[in-house]
C-alpha cells in the first residue's frame, strides 16, 4: 500500500467519487460480458430466459459441455487449434530467436546491418492480401496446416524486441563464455536464453495468442471444413448461426437452446487464453516496453 506524497493534496469528495465511479464502470463493462457468457453456458434453459442479467448460472448444468465434447466438430477443432498454436509458437520462437541472436552480434556477423534493414522495411511497407495469397498458393500450402503457421512465422516487431534485448546483454558475458570454450550455439543456449526468460515468455505469449485467435488465415487457406480451427467453427456457428455438424444430436437434446450451446463453444474457445494469462501477466509491462519505447 503506497502512501500519498506529502505535497499531494487529498482530492475533493466529488473528484474521488467520480474516479471510483469511472473505474468501477470500466471494470464492470470489461468483466461482465465474460461472466455472463460463462453463466449462460452453465445454465439450464428451462429456468432462465435469454438476456437475464446473470451473475451465476441458473439451474446449474454441464449438459451443454457434455453434449459438445461428445460430438465431433468442436473437439476436433480444439485439437487443431491446440496443435497449430503449440507447433506455431515453437516454430516462431525458434526462427525469431535464432535470427535475432544472429543479428544482435553485429560485430561478428558482416552483413547483419543490411539484413536488419531488410527486416525493418517490412514493418513500413508490406505486400497486400492478394500478393500474399498468391505466394501461399504458389508454394503449395493451400489446404495444409502449415499455411496457418509459415506465412506469419516471424513478426518483425517481435524480432526487433528480442534483438534489442540481446544487444543489452553485457559483452563481458560473451567473452567469458568464449574463454570457457563455448561455441555460438552454446552461448545462445546457456548464457543468452536463461537471461532473457521474461522477454521470451511474453513474446511466446504474443505468438501463441496470435495463433489461437487467428481465423482469417484458416478462412483463406483451408477449404476443407474438417480442418478448421476453433475460431472458424465459432464464427460459423455463433456469428452465422449455422448448425454444428452434430445437428442430429442437438435435436435429440431439445432441452438445450442453440444459445446455450453457442455460449459453451464460446467459453471453450476462450478458456485456453484465460489459463495462461495469470502466469504471464507480470511480464507484460517489461515485454511491451523493451521494444516499444525505443524506435
Amino acid at each position: 500500500m503506497a502512501t500519498r506524497p506529502i505535497w499531494q493534496e487529498k482530492p475533493s469528495t466529488f473528484v474521488s467519487v467520480l474516479k471510483v465511479l469511472v473505474l468501477a464502470f470500466t471494470v464492470v463493462v470489461t468483466l461482465y460480458p465474460f461472466i455472463y457468457v460463462i453463466a449462460v453456458s452453465l445454465s439450464n434453459p428451462k429456468v432462465y430466459t435469454p438476456g437475464d442479467l446473470l451473475l451465476w448460472p441458473k439451474g446449474f448444468t454441464t449438459a451443454a459441455y457434455q453434449l459438445i465434447m461428445a460430438g465431433q466438430t468442436v473437439p476436433r477443432a480444439l485439437v487443431v487449434s491446440v496443435c497449430v498454436t503449440t507447433v506455431g509458437t515453437l516454430v516462431s520462437m525458434f526462427c525469431t530467436v535464432t535470427m535475432a541472436y544472429g543479428l544482435s552480434r553485429t560485430s561478428r556477423v558482416p552483413g547483419a546491418r543490411p539484413i536488419l534493414l531488410l527486416v525493418l522495411f517490412t514493418m513500413l511497407f508490406s505486400a497486400g492480401i492478394i500478393p500474399s495469397y498468391l505466394v501461399v498458393r504458389g508454394v503449395g500450402l493451400l489446404d495444409n496446416y502449415l499455411a496457418l503457421i509459415v506465412p506469419g512465422a516471424i513478426s518483425a516487431f517481435n524480432l526487433v524486441v528480442i534483438r534489442n534485448f540481446f544487444m543489452n546483454i553485457p559483452e563481458e558475458l560473451y567473452d567469458a563464455a568464449r574463454i570457457d570454450g563455448a561455441g555460438e550455439l552454446q552461448i545462445l543456449w546457456r548464457v543468452v536464453l536463461p537471461l532473457s526468460k521474461a522477454v521470451l515468455a511474453v513474446i511466446a505469449l504474443f505468438y501463441g495468442v496470435g495463433y489461437w485467435n487467428s481465423f482469417f488465415e484458416a478462412m483463406l487457406y483451408l477449404n476443407e471444413p474438417r480442418m478448421w480451427p476453433i475460431q472458424l467453427i465459432l464464427r460459423q456457428y455463433v456469428l452465422q448461426a449455422e448448425p454444428l455438424g452434430d445437428a442430429a444430436r442437438e435435436q435429440t437434446q431439445v432441452h438445450l437452446t442453440p444459445e446455450t450451446i453457442q455460449m459453451t463453444v464460446l467459453v471453450l474457445a476462450t478458456v485456453p487464453i484465460l489459463l495462461v494469462y495469470p502466469f504471464l501477466q507480470r511480464f507484460f509491462t517489461k515485454g511491451v516496453l523493451t521494444g516499444a519505447i525505443k524506435g
Binding site: M1, A2, R4, W7, Q8, E9, P11, K19, L23, T26, V27, T30, F34, Y36, T49, P50, G51, L53, F94, C95, T98, G102, L103, V109, A112, L118, T122, L124, F125, S126, A127, G128, I129, I130, P131, S132, Y133, L134, V135, V150, I154, A156, V209, N213, F215, F216, V238, L239, E259, L266, A269, I273, Y277, Q281, F284, T285, V288, A292, I293, G295
Partner: protein, 287 residues
C-alpha cells in the same frame, strides 16, 4: 552464425519480399489460370478504375470515417485511462484493475464480436434490461447508421487497457521532484497534469500517433469482416474488405491488387511524412 540467421532470412525473402513482386498483378488483368507471365497487361487501367469505381469510393469513405473516429476517440482513450490509473494511490487496487482491463486484448475478434452480440443484440442483455424498464428495444448490432460508433466502441473496449501500459510506464519515468516543485508553486492537480505529466510523455504520444497514421487506410479488417453481414456493405465495406471480396472471392485480382498497393503506399508515405513533420517540430520521431 549465418546458419542461425538463415531460416528467418528465408522467411522474410519468401513471405515478405516475394509478395512484393506479386504486386505486378496491379498492372495486369491477372488470372490465376494464366499466371503472371501469360496474363494480359493493362497498363494503368486498374489504377484508373480505382478512382471511378463507386463501390471502392464508398469503401474509401467508410475507411476514412472509421479511422477518423478511432484516432479521435480510441487513440486518446488509453491516455485518459492511464492518467486516471496513475492517480490511484493504492498499488493493489491499481494492479487489480490493470489485470482486468488488459484481458480483452488477448481475446480474438471472433470471440469479441460474439460476446458483444450477446450483450447488445436483439435478444441480448441490453434489450432485456430496456424491456424491464418499459423502454423500446434498440437494434444496435444490425443498424448501419450506428455501425461506425459500434466499431469504435469495440476497439476501445478491446484495446484501451493494453494501450495504457506504455503511457503508464512513461509516466513512471517522470521524476517525482517535478511534481513536488510544481506543487510548491501552487499548481493544483489539473495543472500538474497539464504542465508536468503531459509534457513528460509527449514524445511517447507523438511516436504512437505517427505509427497510427500509417494505418489510416486499414481499420480492423477481421473485426469488420465479421460484422459486415449484419449491416451490409454500404456501411461496412472498407478498403481491406473490398480487396478481399473483389479479389479473392470475386476474381477481380488486378483491381484488388492495385487498391491494396495504393493503400500500402499511402500508409508508408503518411508514416514517413508524419515522422518528418514531428522532427521539424522539434520532436524525436521514430526513425
Amino acid at each position: 552464425m549465418y546458419v542461425l540467421i538463415a531460416p528467418g532470412l528465408l522467411f522474410f525473402v519468401v513471405f515478405r519480399y516475394l509478395p512484393l513482386l506479386g504486386n505486378i498483378a496491379a498492372w495486369q488483368d491477372y488470372s490465376p489460370f494464366l499466371g503472371f507471365r501469360r496474363s494480359p497487361w493493362v497498363g494503368w487501367a486498374n489504377f484508373a478504375q480505382i478512382f471511378s469505381d463507386p463501390e471502392l469510393l464508398n469503401a474509401l469513405r467508410n475507411t476514412l470515417l472509421l479511422s477518423g473516429l478511432q484516432i479521435v476517440f480510441a487513440f486518446p482513450a488509453p491516455l485518459a485511462l492511464a492518467l486516471l490509473l496513475n492517480s490511484v494511490i493504492s498499488v493493489r487496487v491499481r494492479r487489480w484493475i490493470q489485470t482486468v482491463v488488459y484481458l480483452p486484448h488477448f481475446i480474438g475478434w471472433v470471440i469479441v464480436v460474439s460476446i458483444w452480440n450477446q450483450m447488445l443484440g436483439p435478444t441480448g442483455v441490453l434489450n432485456h434490461v430496456l424491456k424491464l424498464f418499459g423502454l423500446k428495444a434498440a437494434d444496435i448490432i444490425g443498424n448501419p447508421d450506428s455501425f461506425a460508433v459500434l466499431v469504435t466502441a469495440q476497439v476501445i473496449w478491446k484495446e484501451v487497457g493494453w494501450g495504457t501500459i506504455i503511457f503508464l510506464a512513461a509516466m513512471l519515468a517522470i521524476p517525482q521532484e517535478l511534481y513536488e516543485s510544481a506543487a510548491l508553486d501552487r499548481a493544483g492537480p489539473w495543472r500538474r497534469i497539464w504542465h508536468v505529466t503531459l509534457p513528460g510523455i509527449a514524445s511517447v504520444i507523438i511516436l504512437l500517433l505517427i505509427l497510427r497514421l500509417g494505418s489510416v487506410l486499414s481499420v480492423g479488417f477481421e473485426q469488420i469482416l465479421l460484422q459486415q453481414p449484419a449491416v451490409g456493405a454500404d456501411a461496412a465495406q472498407t478498403l481491406d474488405t473490398f480487396v478481399y471480396f473483389r479479389g479473392i472471392n470475386g476474381g477481380d485480382w488486378g483491381l484488388a491488387t492495385a487498391a491494396g498497393l495504393v493503400k500500402g503506399l499511402v500508409g508508408t508515405v503518411l508514416v514517413l511524412g508524419a515522422n518528418r513533420a514531428a522532427k521539424k517540430l522539434g520532436g524525436e520521431g521514430v526513425f
